[in-house]
């Protein structure tokens, strides 16, 4: 076990993948000598050379489009979108090609491309630096969409994403980038597609992913002090979604709240509510609720705390799960 930040864990994952497989190349904006604006690619150009980790012209569609071609010719590109909202120019390449060429060619052409996207708020960022854009990608068939909530998962999920055969949109909760945690880089790489129960509980189940997981865990801790036992499930893999783990955790308590930073309308949180309701209806003592961002553009820094899911808002919602009627 080593104490490292999420940035350090991601950097170690890239480095280890590059050592292990010469087909792995890293590129994007400022990822070369600078090491990325968050330093996730720190030292990679120095260690592996310009051909393995390099800066590109400032054009996101170009970055993803070139990655697709490189993957067609046998390489395993890992590209960085500098911020969530700056990935939008690449969306056509992602939605029309990255996601679909495997299907288009009946599996003849597989695209092992990882698109890393730092996402979410909580860093006091100005507009276009705090979006939670996972729903756009999760709604696109053919994309694997994962997001770590712990530094160990950041390492393991990125290794798994790079080693796989399919394109992966890898959402990094940037507000956790510099939090230090124990990381075991020798632990088994978690298979993509598995959620994990982060905290056991008996009264209700919080379902969260990415930056919402620490908030959900804090809420469960607070609830414990107030006499209520909340389980916390970390989704980890939005696509493929682990129905089995999530629904088992909901059935065990009969109540559930989904927590996510993204605006709630037509969101991943909405999809989770629908799936849980469809599969657990007779085990539910109350409707499944959501605590999400408001249906607004991401707020300016001084107002973001009102938008982001908070411990209090989660606990208030848990309080509304029709406890008197059961």
């Amino acid at each position: 076990m080593t104490k490292m930040t999420m940035v350090g864990a991601l950097n170690a994952a890239l480095r280890d993948a590059m050592v292990e497989d010469p087909r792995v190349v890293v590129f994007g904006e400022d990822v070369g000598p600078l090491g990325g604006v968050f330093r996730v690619t720190d030292g990679l150009t120095a260690e592996f050379g310009e051909d393995r980790c390099f800066d590109t012209p400032l054009a996101e569609s170009g970055i993803v489009g070139m990655a697709i071609g490189m993957a067609m010719n046998g390489m395993r590109p890992v590209v960085e979108m500098q911020f969530d909202a700056f990935a939008y120019p690449a969306f056509e390449q992602v939605a029309s090609h990255l996601a679909k060429i495997g299907n288009r060619t009946h599996g003849k052409v597989r695209l092992p491309v990882v698109v890393r996207i730092p996402y979410g708020g909580g860093i006091g960022g100005v507009e276009h630096h705090c979006d939670s854009s996972e729903a756009y990608y999760a709604h696109t068939p053919g994309l694997t969409v994962v997001t770590p909530a712990t530094n160990e998962d950041a390492y393991g999920l990125l290794r798994a994403a790079i080693a796989g055969s399919d394109p992966v949109i890898f959402f990094e909760p940037k507000k956790q980038y510099f939090t230090k945690e124990e990381v075991d880089v020798t632990a088994d790489v978690p298979p993509i597609g598995r959620a994990v129960v982060r905290r056991e509980g008996t009264d209700a189940t919080l379902i969260a992913y990415g930056p919402a997981v620490p908030v959900a865990l804090a809420a469960a801790e607070q609830a414990q002090r107030e006499g209520r036992s909340l389980a916390v499930v970390d989704v980890r893999s939005i696509v493929p979604f682990d129905d089995a783990t999530v629904t088992a955790a909901v059935r065990a308590t009969g109540r559930a709240v989904v927590v996510a930073e993204a605006q709630g309308f037509a969101s991943v949180a909405s999809e989770i509510v629908a799936r849980v309701t469809e599969q657990c209806f007779h085990h539910l003592a109350a409707p499944v609720r959501r605590v999400t961002g408001f249906d607004i553009p991401f707020p300016p820094p001084k107002l973001e705390r009102h938008h982001l899911p908070s411990v209090n808002r989660i606990l208030d919602t848990v309080d509304e799960l029709q406890w008197d009627e059961s």
Partner: protein
């Protein structure tokens, strides 16, 4: 070869529209020479076969056997020269209108047309032929060509990517990003713009105010050549030079082929709403096949017997395509779920099973 290739922004033409050879002192650059007769006879044959397939496929849309067909009728010179300029192992990145170029790279025309028949999105194996799927979103494939070429350079392959697009695509951002990336990374890509003057209904004047599309290369540091797109001899010389330059120096070249879409965008289009018949008539005498035929006949390089052989070959190919498009197994509904991911997710497996049950019930109801 030197790393810099001088741009040629006056039209390269080696055979005039009436079939007579252009005197070399009228060439805009002394780099070019008219190809050997044997090469041009081969190109002639390919264009005749290509024209026959274009017209056969259009006929199949009228019979309802193909959903749609974007024809390259009149642009066959660009189609066959683009494919013929490539060496074994080089890559082609075609658009939806480039059926003939794909065929010229050795892909079975029935397989090519499968997506327009409606059975599956891309039936041929891109890795086997080094031909990417025919791309519909404009200019997006140009970046894939850059990626293939750049990866080739990094992995020590001697590979060039030929990326095709039309005049409309030069307005898309990906066109500019592709030229820029290719230039910055010195990726061996030949960009061939078939300027056929129309993007469905919108004329070239609404796409650009530049003196030519070839001029767009200048801003990216990409050498550019403007060529008569209905003169297969000129295309052959220009594209072979471009491929050799890309291969030797690992640098991109932009080629603009000046041509014309004499037919509708597809069978679903009505060009009388946006252009005059008089304009189309101006282009008919510039037909690439008639031009080369006149040239070769005058030189005694093409006789009646050869022409008869080529015509018979074209008819046989058309019959094969008619037959192949009209028959063949129905697509398998299981395929809908099979290749979305390399391993089927539990959710897709459940959806596949649901559809299977529906189909069983449907069969029982009959």
């Amino acid at each position: 070869m030197s790393s810099s290739l001088e741009s040629v922004l006056d039209t390269v033409r080696l055979i005039d529209p009436d079939g007579s050879p252009v005197p070399p002192d009228r060439y805009p650059s002394d780099r070019y020479a008219i190809p050997a007769d044997a090469d041009l006879v081969a190109r002639y044959r390919s264009m005749v076969l290509g024209r026959r397939i274009n017209d056969q496929a259009s006929a199949l849309t009228r019979q309802g056997r193909l959903a749609v067909y974007p024809s390259s009728h009149g642009q066959e010179a660009c189609q066959v020269a683009a494919a013929a300029a490539l060496r074994p192992g080089d890559w082609l990145f075609p658009t939806y209108r480039d059926t003939v170029a794909v065929m010229e790279r050795g892909v079975d025309p029935v397989e090519i047309l499968t997506w327009l028949k409606g059975d599956r999105h891309c039936a041929y194996d891109p890795l086997e032929h080094h031909v990417a799927p025919q791309t519909t979103p404009l200019a997006t494939q140009l970046l894939h060509a850059v990626g293939v070429a750049h990866a080739g350079r990094l992995q020590g392959q001697d590979v060039v990517a030929m990326a095709l697009c039309g005049d409309g695509a030069t307005s898309e951002g990906d066109f500019h990003e592709a030229l820029n990336f290719a230039a910055v990374f010195r990726a061996p890509v030949v960009f061939l713009v078939q300027n056929n003057k129309y993007a469905i209904s919108v004329p070239l004047s609404r796409q650009t105010a530049a003196p030519s599309l070839a001029h767009k290369g200048v801003g990216y540091g990409v050498p550019a050549v403007l060529v008569d797109g209905n003169d297969v001899a000129a295309l052959d010389a220009v594209l072979r030079e471009a491929v050799a330059h890309a291969a030797a120096g690992g640098r991109p070249v932009l080629v603009e082929a000046d041509t014309y879409r004499v037919q509708a965008h597809t069978n679903a289009d009505d060009p009388t709403r946006y252009r005059t018949e008089a304009e189309v008539e101006e282009w008919r005498p510039r037909d690439p096949i008639a031009r080369l035929r006149t040239y070769l006949r005058a030189r005694g390089a093409l006789d009646d017997a050869q022409e008869a052989t080529i015509t018979a070959e074209a008819e046989a190919l058309a019959a094969t395509v008619r037959d192949g498009v009209s028959h063949g197994p129905a697509p398998d509904p299981d395929d809908l779920f099979e290749h979305v991911f390399s391993a089927m997710t539990p959710q897709l497996r459940a959806q596949r099973d649901l559809l299977r049950e529906e189909l069983v019930a449907e069969g029982a109801d009959r």
